[in-house]
Symmetry: C2
């Protein structure tokens, strides 16, 4: 007798729910996204979703975190600026993916009137990746490529904030030219004297 | 006979509406702000508001643009970094004013699902101030303080995006220390060789 594997069935439902949330967010906007809509598109009951996630923000946050996966990890070729360029170009691709962009813009919007959503967004999506970048910057400091008094967290904000600025204001495109400009403007001043 | 001045009465109504919008946004959040609520608090009819503004975003945008006024203009003492520090500290005060912060965060949130709101926000609030900053930077380039090949608009994003990043993610405070760090990290690399 073949016994259905409940773990595999759960994983299939989980993936269907995350995909449905991403699809609906880009088709209809975050504001119009509902748990009912996600359940219907995923072919599951609404209670299945509520068993795993408390809110549509929570579903979508897990969906984009899954979608980004480890594509935003940092290479380490020994050349810090080359490694940052590689990673930032990958991030630019992610932030200009219409599905990812619609979801992240929706989550950041929700975070403006919901402190728990803001905290979850930072803790789940941003913080682990900030920590990876900080590790890469510390290695570069140990290798004498960046002045030791520079705090990695400050440098990370300077490098990455302009990408999010364009994501949210939409007045200029996020592209490789922007990344080249950021690195060219910041890096000459970071080498030890 | 004293004839009421309709212009002065309009201006009084306009100010009452803008103040009401700012107060209600901080008391109740942008999401819960309604034209009815603003009309009631301002003591005017809802039609008076709709005669001047098409949406709550439009009311609030005019309200914060008025509130910022010319406090974000650029001084010109001849010392670019000192002038930027003065202006950025004033901007930090503005962005940490709870009334201004609640309204701007609400407008940026609304812009994520409304392209017209995004365009108005950039055009009304940001663009005129970006242009003032670009003028100040061009003067500094003419004075030989900044390398001539640096595009002012790129440098402006690098300087200011980290403040908006903290406004929206709320993971670290916007303060004078942040501004000192930004200027210290960027400016050594901008002087002509």
């Amino acid at each position: 007798m073949i016994v259905p594997n409940p773990d595999r069935r759960s994983e299939r439902a989980r993936r269907a729910i995350l995909s449905a949330a991403l699809e609906l967010c880009v088709e209809e906007s975050f504001a119009r996204l509902t748990m009912e809509g996600v359940a219907k598109r995923a072919g599951v009951g609404k209670q299945t979703i509520y068993r795993w996630w408390p809110s549509k923000s929570a579903v979508l946050l897990e969906a984009i975190d899954d979608r980004a996966g480890d594509t935003l990890d940092f290479p380490d070729t020994g050349d810090l600026v080359a490694d940052l360029r590689t990673q930032m170009i990958q991030l630019a691709r992610t932030l200009t993916d219409p599905v990812f962009a619609a979801s992240l813009r929706g989550l950041i919007a929700a975070a403006q009137s919901d402190a728990d959503a803001a905290e979850s967004l930072y803790r789940t999506l941003m913080k682990p990746r900030v920590e990876l970048c900080a590790e890469r910057l510390k290695k570069a400091q140990q290798a004498g490529q960046v002045r030791p008094e520079v705090a990695p967290e400050d440098l990370i904000e300077l490098l990455y904030a302009p990408l999010y600025y364009r994501l949210l204001l939409q007045h200029r495109p996020i592209d490789e030219a922007q990344i080249g400009t950021i690195l060219d403007l910041i890096f000459p001043s970071l080498a030890p004297a």
